[in-house]
Amino acid sequence: MTEMVYGAVQQRAGEPILPKWWRTLDKWSMTCVLILFAIGLLLGLAASVPLAERNGFGNFHYVMRQAVFGGAALVAMLLTSMMSPTLVRRLAVMGFIVTFVALALLPVFGTDFGKGAVRWYSLGFASLQPSEFLKPGFVVVAAWLIAASQEINGPPGKLWSFGLCITVVLMLVMQPDFGQACLVLFGWGVMYFVAGAPMILLVGMAGAVVVGGMVAYSSSEHFARRIDGYLNPEVDPTTQLGYATNAIREGGLFGVGVGEGQVKWSLPDAHTDFIIAVAAEEYGLVLVLVVISLYALIVVRSLFRLMRERDPFIRLAGTGLAAMFGVQAMINMGVAVRLLPAKGMTLPFVSYGGSSLIAGGIALGMLLAFTRARPQGGIADYLRGRG
């Protein structure tokens, strides 16, 4: 059957990369990401103008930067999504080691840009926030360890990953960056939950969160003020939240019109933490619902695709990435509508920010790589009658 002829055209085993990628890719999710990125640029046109004006740049300085970084992020996403899960895992583990070291060295070489928290490396033309890049790497490493523990004679990966998680969280808390710390903790928790956490432990953890919250409330004035501000139905109109709420109200169903919004002039974080308020004011509820559906679609679709996945590592890593992505968007928008207490968190792929864009691109690329359709041995299962 096989022709073994000298000088014959060499044929590569398997399918060519691009067709295979296109065939197996979750095209819906990728389309959603592209739309989100486009919306981010559109909102940047509105929201970053005041910032540019304050800093003495041209009106669309930050939009240009966003476009450049976003282009890089999209390329990173596409390249990552073409890799095989094994390659992703290897690169991610190496990336995690590098970013972990970078995070550890922050107190020595990092800058705080006068914001009180040392989170960045200044590179002159741009700044780099290692914690953004650490998150996807951490998810992959933790998933790998947990998956390994499910093999016969596997290492105690759950314990190891938990230790790693606590280390990373402590390092983030020391910066301090409670937002990222919460995300990392949440990502690990979700993976542990999917990997089969005992029910007793889950109930116990829920109790611990409640008790911890109460302790924090009674001991930290800063924390208590935020919670009070959240529980109080009256919004103080001069706070960021007040401005955001009012912006959403002003916007109504169809918005006040492109470029007509006022909230971006009042809110210092209009281009990052409260970009959804800018969207609501200028483009109305319609665009906000579109944005929410896009996030929901990406997260829920990815999770449902991962349900069919047989490989525990891919399942866990994909779950962790999707959950982190989703919860970050959820917290950002939940704060703007006062469902959640105020917490600075960017809206992934929409908010301005170089590090978070590129890191988000890589993370989504990994997620797309993990959710690609691949043979799951289903037929063999049917043959063996295990369905």
Binding site: I152, F193, R249, G252, M307, G334
Partner: protein, 594 residues
């Protein structure tokens, strides 16, 4: 849990019999167990992923619903103008003792430009300089055509100016509402009121904060919404303040003085009824603080509380009153005032080198003898003198309720020598403000109690600790009256009001030490009516000089006293004092009886 062995003996034996490799059975079993484990974990993960997906879906739906709820509620009016209402909070009015307005608020507008929206910057600039001549046309055009998107033009404009700017008709000229502090009486009580300026400033509102005077002292009270707009009531009387300022201004001009100040105070309550410092300013348009020159010559300087001067012979009455109080002398005790007199080698002279010979204590005050007072002071001694002046509050800034009062720190010698005792007894070597002097005279006038001067209306007498016996106070009152009837203050006789008082003419100290030959501070400290004193009036003129009877005269008797007399004549009726008609004026009327 029942564990199936990896190497079941029955199958191994069977395999061995058939000559197969028994290890394959073990491998097969391991593989199956692994697959079973994976299946189990996958099924569990499937369920949990479903839960997770459901959780995310619900969360996003809730956020979307909440967004929808927020977006469909109308923006409530107070929230829509939230930024404004937060700072444009009503500042309480300031009123005088009868509730007449001294300071209130006024809605006005600020003017700003948004150059990108301008149609014709040149025409707009042209129109603006016609309305506001102080603006520079080149500067405006530069602002309007440059890169700026927002330019303040005027912080406050009147309704007429606003209409005029409207009439220019340029859409780039915009107005922001401003709550402005208004002092409807203009310059009246300028130093007390101080002034207000804008603090935090936004387009839609600006915060009004007190920058000086009572506005700054009570800034917290005036801005406190908890007071519900209740006005701040001062002890000042608007009409009396106005009369005092008029008279003092006229007197200052007439006496060629470069500055003047007066304090009118109730001797029992310590309420300051009027306080004037000239030159003054308009608190509606408070000038900028001086950057050069002597701060004490600036209109912003409050001479009544900030200015500390050697107030000269007006202090003599304190020495006499203390000497009587201590029982060292009575008003009739004769004291040798003849010269020469030296204290610590320093000669003590008299005005124009006079020599009065032996004088009674009362006459020492009437003639204003330095040597006589000095001898009394030496009898009292430094310790008791210092304690007495301290009890009159002469060493600390007055507690008067405007911020500037804290700056009126009296100057006095650190080492209180015999020479200090003597010079201070006649008012040299200790500098204090006219407000200090008013408090000191009030203690004599009210029968011997210290009262602290206050700017707030009081309901009842605020007598402080006793500083001298009622008898000593009464003796001092009589001496003061005698100064007017037969002494240096004869011009102070105001028919019907029985003024008593003491003059003081002090050479002005040079900045670098020594005294000027021909520059004086002339002070008249008076009480009236002297048989039952109710008010203290201090009038001080800075560098007065008039020509009278062919001679240049600077002494208080010729300068400050006539001004004070005119002022008493004007304000005493306003204070509700009844003139006592003296029998002498009945001459010419024939009393008949039938």
């Amino acid at each position: 849990m029942i564990r199936t062995p990896l190497r079941p003996l029955a199958r191994i034996l069977e395999a061995r019999e058939k000559g197969e490799n028994p290890d394959a059975i073990e491998r097969e079993n391991i593989r199956r167990r692994h697959a079973e484990m994976q299946d189990k974990s996958r099924q569990r993960a499937e369920g949990r992923l479903l839960v997770l997906g459901g959780f995310f879906l619900c969360a996003f739906v809730v956020i979307g619903a909440r967004m929808g709820m927020l977006a469909t509620t109308e923006p409530v009016e107070p929230l829509a103008s939230a930024a404004g209402s937060a700072i444009a909070m009503q500042r309480a009015d300031i009123v005088d003792r009868d509730g007449r307005i001294l300071a209130t608020n006024f809605d006005t507008h600020s003017l700003y430009a948004q150059p990108p929206q301008m149609v014709d910057p040149d025409a707009a600039a042209e129109g603006l300089i016609k309305i506001f001549p102080d603006l520079k046309k080149e500067r405006l055009i530069k602002d309007f055509t440059g890169k700026r998107k927002f330019v303040w033009i005027k912080k406050r404009i009147s309704p007429e100016q606003k209409q005029a700017v409207h009439d220019i008709g340029d859409p780039g000229l915009l107005f922001g509402p401003r709550e402005m502090r208004l002092y409807p009486n203009g310059r009246l009580a300028a130093h007390v009121l101080g002034g207000a300026g804008f603090g935090k400033e936004g387009v839609n509102a600006a915060e009004v904060i007190g920058v000086a005077g009572v506005e700054k002292q009570f800034d917290g009270y005036l801005r406190d919404p908890a007071n519900g707009g209740k006005p701040l009531q001062l002890s000042l009387d608007l009409t009396i303040q106005a009369a005092s300022e008029r008279v003092l201004y006229g007197g200052m001009k007439l006496m060629n003085a470069k500055g003047a100040t007066s304090v009118l105070m109730d001797v029992k309550t310590g309420e300051v009824i009027s306080v004037v410092s000239l030159p003054d300013f308009d608190p509606n348009d408070r000038p900028r603080p001086p950057t050069s020159g002597d701060a004490s010559d600036n209109p912003l300087f409050n001479r009544a509380v900030q200015g500390v001067y050697e107030l000269g012979s007006t202090f003599k009455i304190f020495t006499a009153a203390q000497a009587v109080d201590l029982g060292l002398v009575n008003p009739e005790t004769m004291i040798d005032t003849s010269g020469p007199m030296r204290v610590s080698g320093f000669p003590i002279g008299e005005f124009r080198n006079k020599n009065y010979g032996n004088l009674s204590v009362a006459d020492i005050i009437v003639k204003s003898s330095n040597r006589g007072t000095g001898r009394l002071a030496l009898q009292i001694g430094p310790t008791r003198q210092k304690a007495f002046l301290g009890s009159l509050g002469m060493f600390d800034p007055t507690p008067f309720e405007i911020v500037e009062a804290r700056g009126g720190q009296p100057l006095f010698p650190k080492k209180w020598t015999d020479l200090s005792t003597v010079t201070i007894s006649y008012g040299h070597g200790l500098s204090s403000s006219p407000m200090h002097l008013a408090a000191g005279y009030a203690a004599i006038a009210n029968g011997g109690h210290y009262v602290s001067p206050t700017l707030l209306k009081q309901r009842e007498p605020q007598l402080g600790p006793r500083v001298m016996s009622p008898e000593a106070a009464e003796a001092a009152q009589k001496m003061l009256r005698k100064v007017v009837t037969s002494g240096t203050a004869s011009f102070a006789e105001v028919p019907g009001y029985r003024v008593g008082g003491k003059t003081g003419t002090a050479d002005k100290p040079k900045p670098n030490g020594g005294y000027y030959e021909s520059k004086v501070i002339a002070t008249f400290a008076s009480i009236f009516p002297s048989d039952d004193p109710k008010y203290v009036l201090i009038v001080t003129l800075d560098e007065p000089s008039i020509i009278a009877y062919g001679e240049e005269r600077r002494s208080a008797g010729w300068t400050a006293v006539p001004v004070a007399a005119e002022m008493i004549g004007r304000v005493a009726p306003l204070l509700g004092l009844r003139p006592k008609v003296e029998p002498g004026q009945l001459a010419g009327i024939t009393l008949t009886s039938n």
